[in-house]
């Protein structure tokens, strides 16, 4: 028993040393991958390529696969089923579907989309997943997976339609966040840059604060929340004026009465 405990301690010490070594500044990590570009857009049936580079010290084998893609209410990307609404996952194919990369080597994966007939016009999306294979001898193996967003725009009329509903205040400790729910009723993705999504807090016609939203995208036919974070000390009744413009020029202008 004592011998086993000592063995365990020795293993932990050796791990700690290994960790420090790996963490030393300038040391290359064992596994490091870069994909470029990180976002691919295809106009209908077409092709694009993604370059993957192994910047680590170990050789890697990568599997390339497709998956569904979605944004949650706050715009955080996530992997979903390939059959999700407006998913383009089943339209994608990759060549090659497996890459072996030595340290410092790079490979190119061709992504091809085949848009079926009678599909709804506008944006459909999916993820191209690049996943390292588990090392055979590992106990608790750690692997990485990179998701490159692929947006396929199906031919047809582009519809842009954005609506906003009621502004609400959410408190988390000292941070107050004003949340503006939006609905993208169009068929293409709308993007909101920080500079073009503004919420002005006023009282008696006097401007008291100007807040910018966290940037995000809103996929077609989905709901989402624009978050305006406020760390100031304003209290009481206010008027909040939202002036939000997407990159495509869709504008939402509304005023709300609010108690901070």
């Amino acid at each position: 028993m004592t011998a086993r405990r000592l063995g365990s301690a020795a293993a932990l010490v050796s791990l700690a040393l290994a960790s420090a070594s790996a963490g030393a500044s300038g040391a290359r990590p064992p596994v490091a991958l870069t994909a470029s570009p990180s976002h691919v857009e295809l106009a209908g049936s077409g092709r694009a390529s993604v370059r993957v580079t192994n910047n680590g010290t170990a050789s890697v084998v990568l599997d390339v696969s497709e998956a569904g893609f979605a944004l949650d209410l706050r715009g955080r990307p996530k992997v979903v089923a390939r059959s999700a609404a407006r998913s383009a996952a089943s339209w994608l194919s990759f060549r090659p579907s497996r890459l072996s990369l030595r340290p410092g080597a790079a490979g190119v994966v061709a992504i091809r989309s085949r848009v079926p007939v009678r599909v709804e016009p506008g944006d459909h999306d999916a993820l191209a997943l690049f996943t390292t294979r588990r090392r055979a001898a590992a106990g608790l193996a750690v692997r990485i997976r990179m998701g490159v967003v692929v947006v396929v725009r199906a031919p047809g009329e582009v519809v842009r339609h954005l609506t906003a509903s009621r502004l609400r205040l959410v408190r988390r400790g000292r941070l107050r966040t004003l949340e503006l729910p939006l609905v993208n009723r169009g068929n293409v993705t709308e993007s909101f840059a920080r500079a073009k999504a503004v919420l002005t807090l006023e009282r008696g016609g006097r401007r008291l604060a100007k807040l910018h939203a966290l940037p995000r995208e809103l996929r077609p036919r989905t709901r989402g929340i624009l978050e305006f974070r406020y760390r100031g000390s304003l209290r009481g009744r206010l008027v909040a004026r939202a002036d939000v413009a997407s990159d495509s020029g869709q504008v939402v202008r509304r005023a709300y009465r609010l108690r901070m």
């Binding site: 976002h39 106009a43 955080r76 193996a141 998701g147």
Partner: protein, 364 residues
Amino acid sequence: MHRVRLVLALLFAGALLMAPAARSASADMVVSQVYAGGGNSGATYANDFVELFNRGSSAVDVSTWSIQYASASGTSWQVTPLSGSVQPGKYLLVQLASAAAIGAALPTPDVIGTTNLANTGGKVGLVRGTTALTCGATAGSCSSLALVADLVGYGSATDYEGSGATAGLSNTTGVARNGGGCTDTDVNDADFTGGVPAPRNSATAAAQCSGTPPPPSGGTSGNAGVDIDIQSELSIALERQNISFGNAMAGDSPTAISERVTVSNTNAAGYALTVHRSAFQPADLPLGMTASAPAGGTIGAQLAGGAKVAIPIAPAADLLIGTTAARSATGGDAWPTNVSFTSALPVVPPGHYSATITYTVIGR
């Protein structure tokens, strides 16, 4: 008096004759190339296409614009909506119908439509809107409308800019705007030349139209355009690719092991970092982790405050470690995570237990 009446009559007639020369307000965006033989016998390309060009000095948002086509004498227009914006000196390629799989594939189109252009004659309008035009029966009827940014009548077209339509097309020839797309005198038959089609898309190097400045006196100078497209990059690096807790027994709580994950996205929208695992074999063990966020990152709600959270087993939804909403700092964002167990090790048969943890990063 009769002479005065005669002069007035001649002036009126002259004005009528001049009417067809009415020009579209084709400021910056123009139609720069048209090809209608796509997929026909012996075709150069498999699809018809219309190429647009921004000959101005600022970007033009065409997301609410359209390309419209009507037959040579028709007034019924087919609409292809456009999308995006066109930078100065850049092209936008609109792929249209194909008769058959004959001819080369076009370069990657920026917009795809289904309109079938006729070789013998037709009218192509670049319109600030997506409502179908109703003009085009007579010369000048469309090109005089403010919402028509540019109009090209070719072959036997009844409407065109200036004094006449440009040449008809064939399966192997199209018409291209002179000067690489820069020439626009609002006279179709002077501004376009027939020839072998050479489609250009948004990836084609920019071609600036501004005049070359004169060389300084006593010397010569030359200008060279410089053009480069920087691609976005998404990177992820691990501190280690295997984690070993060494030897342990039921009831032990092995010390947590660090796994620092470094992520970088050059895209200004940031990324999300998540984790999941497979079940331990031959029996599962309660693996968990703690994590904290780097500067500029937001820790996932479950991991906030240093909470130790079970790592979900696929296909359950991933555990969100954190997100960013901005371009990563130089060197990337280092996310410290510590892998351990959420409770003391249960009583399980002795042996070697293995599983796989997967860290996932998705660019926003």
